[in-house]
Symmetry: C3
Subunit: 304 residues, 3 copies
Amino acid sequence: MKNKFIYFFITLFLWFPIITLATSNPGMVVIQTDFGIKDGAVSAVKGVMYSVDPALKISDLTNEITPFNIWEASYRLYQVAQYWPQGTVFVSVVDPGVGTHRKSIVAESNNGYYFVTPDNGTLTLINDQYGLKEVREIDETKNRLKGSNDSYTFHGRDVYGYVAARLASGKIQFEDVGPKLETPIVKLSYQKPFIKDHKLEGTITILDPQYGNLWTNIDDKLVHEFDIQKDKLYKVTVYYKGQKKFQGSMPFEHTFGEVKKDKNLLYVNSLMNLSVATNQKNFAKLYHVDAGADWRIEVEQVKS
Amino acid sequence: MKNKFIYFFITLFLWFPIITLATSNPGMVVIQTDFGIKDGAVSAVKGVMYSVDPALKISDLTNEITPFNIWEASYRLYQVAQYWPQGTVFVSVVDPGVGTHRKSIVAESNNGYYFVTPDNGTLTLINDQYGLKEVREIDETKNRLKGSNDSYTFHGRDVYGYVAARLASGKIQFEDVGPKLETPIVKLSYQKPFIKDHKLEGTITILDPQYGNLWTNIDDKLVHEFDIQKDKLYKVTVYYKGQKKFQGSMPFEHTFGEVKKDKNLLYVNSLMNLSVATNQKNFAKLYHVDAGADWRIEVEQVKS
Amino acid sequence: MKNKFIYFFITLFLWFPIITLATSNPGMVVIQTDFGIKDGAVSAVKGVMYSVDPALKISDLTNEITPFNIWEASYRLYQVAQYWPQGTVFVSVVDPGVGTHRKSIVAESNNGYYFVTPDNGTLTLINDQYGLKEVREIDETKNRLKGSNDSYTFHGRDVYGYVAARLASGKIQFEDVGPKLETPIVKLSYQKPFIKDHKLEGTITILDPQYGNLWTNIDDKLVHEFDIQKDKLYKVTVYYKGQKKFQGSMPFEHTFGEVKKDKNLLYVNSLMNLSVATNQKNFAKLYHVDAGADWRIEVEQVKS
């Protein structure tokens, strides 16, 4: 009688690792680069990743970051990461200094994501918004695609993609990446938003490029503190390096459809930051404004 | 002896749900938007979907629909859906009225696909071609990304993507989406093709944007009825709001290579609709013509 | 006692095919086309593939090959294939002769990949670099999407995508594709690199389109033979059909960051071919040069 039990449990036991493997969630890697999608660069990176583990789930954040624009890369990670399953490994390669002495790092954020990237400022906004739990420097003597030592210009394929795939697939643990980074990570500087003299001021951090909306770094807490109210009119001024580029009045609304087509509005965007748009038109193109550390916005209530 | 059988079947029985899970087909979601691929919007939607179920298969139809062009969105669904496995969930977000009182719906088509979309005309051609079995309005009190109630401008992420993922993964059934839609869906108007006075007339519904071919809504049944024949010459006239924009003679052929490079031809395209092209050149650019409800085509046989 | 063993092994045996299926690597298909990503063509191809087998892994190499540019298609396959897992099935559809009498083939390369494509020169560089083990002509009477016989213009969907999916999923073996191709494959002609009169000469095979770098077909063996050395200056001349289009001196470096921003350099790219770039600028745009069989490069050492 006892023997029967034994065989039963031996069967269960033998199958366990195989079943676990088959049903476990696959590792997830999300790629962001400025490589574009017209050539084979992104596909070479994905090939390296699937060669590490064909069961990986690989998804593109975007490969159309403006070439060399680290700020934009930083913003896109901040925009997207929180919506992905915890444990997702992001690999971001916008790397004007490829082959020079900038460091290669992997960071774990306090909200549970991993970021594989050159240490050049890409993690500025993730660090400010969520904080980094630990940062490690990639030890390239251990963690580098085999046979790639003579290649100096494609670390996205030879180092970052390879390490991200190994980490996401569980072939290495975070600790195996390399030693803890002793110095702070590189950060890009930008002006935080504030209220002064009954004016709400901030930076136009980025464009919503498909629709031309301006997204600022003024978050909804500051919007509430300034007591912006639905359907009321506000005077909006946009400056580039201190020079006025746009001024106009517009209402604050919840969404585009609450003003007529072609009319401007203030609203809180999907990341809960104050934004400016023209309903069904491109505000940035219409008024020749752009985004970045040199672009500032000022909002005050129109007296009635 | 009986006992041995029992253990054998207990083993089988215990493993059954796990094995089923591991071998069952994953849910499939196909995304269509006008978000573009330069920023993080599409990736935020995918992150929400994989957070619902990491085993989902997610594929892009296109994220480059001309902004706010609902007709184009409707055409692309009609062009593609029939080639996907039955049960595939399409989520289409071209939503100029986001945040206004347009409804959010899920439709099941008679040929076995699901469509999650604002009710703004996106399903016009799927409805006309295949018919809709049932349409339900999304109950956003139950079916909305948790914590997104203060976000008014990104229903693609907060409602449509989330609902599509829950439906495709089996976490909700079609009935759980919300109540049956009592009113008819919104439909875009367009002129159906016809034969009159020995002329074959129709609408230029869409461009094949990469090659500049004109695709009409004249289907192969009407082509046969009009008795168009291979290698014969036809006079083709294109009108925009009643004004002549192109007129020329060209043969009807099966495929591009049957005329010389740079020569025009009539042919039946991959959706079995009459089309116009220039072999290895861009007809639309060469002759400054476009597509849409205002663009009409007239075909008649050249007398010999 | 013996009976107990029997039941134990019967259990193992019964589960074996199911488990194997669940844990086996999925077939991988990599798609390359000139279809663009604004319409539904690529998604129709993917729908056909997933209808063959929903477990397939499908990835895009690029769908932005310059329309009808077979050379570029050939280069991208050469650039990428070697980084993918062996057994990956590449389907490349750049097909100016669709519907004419060009053949449809599947090739197995000596380094273990499959290529499904029209026989129009797409395999030129894979053939020259790795060699082809065997080439078979697709028998379209057996291997064609059901119901697509009246469609003459979309072999990417009806033939190539369908066959690639069937091969990758194991539903057919390579031998089932059709008979061995008796004639050689179509090859594009180009000039191989050489050293003559203390000059290193080659073809500018392709641009790195995102950054404007020139990639030549001068490989690192020839670079070593010519004894190019780091930090030394070289005179670089670019010709188009024999006419001088650029001449200038620049150092040979390992990577971009070793020269100042806006400065030119020679380097060995990620495919180990000699290349020309401007650090953080677009060399091709700055000097109005391009790539292709008519674009030649000449390198000689600057006498010091």
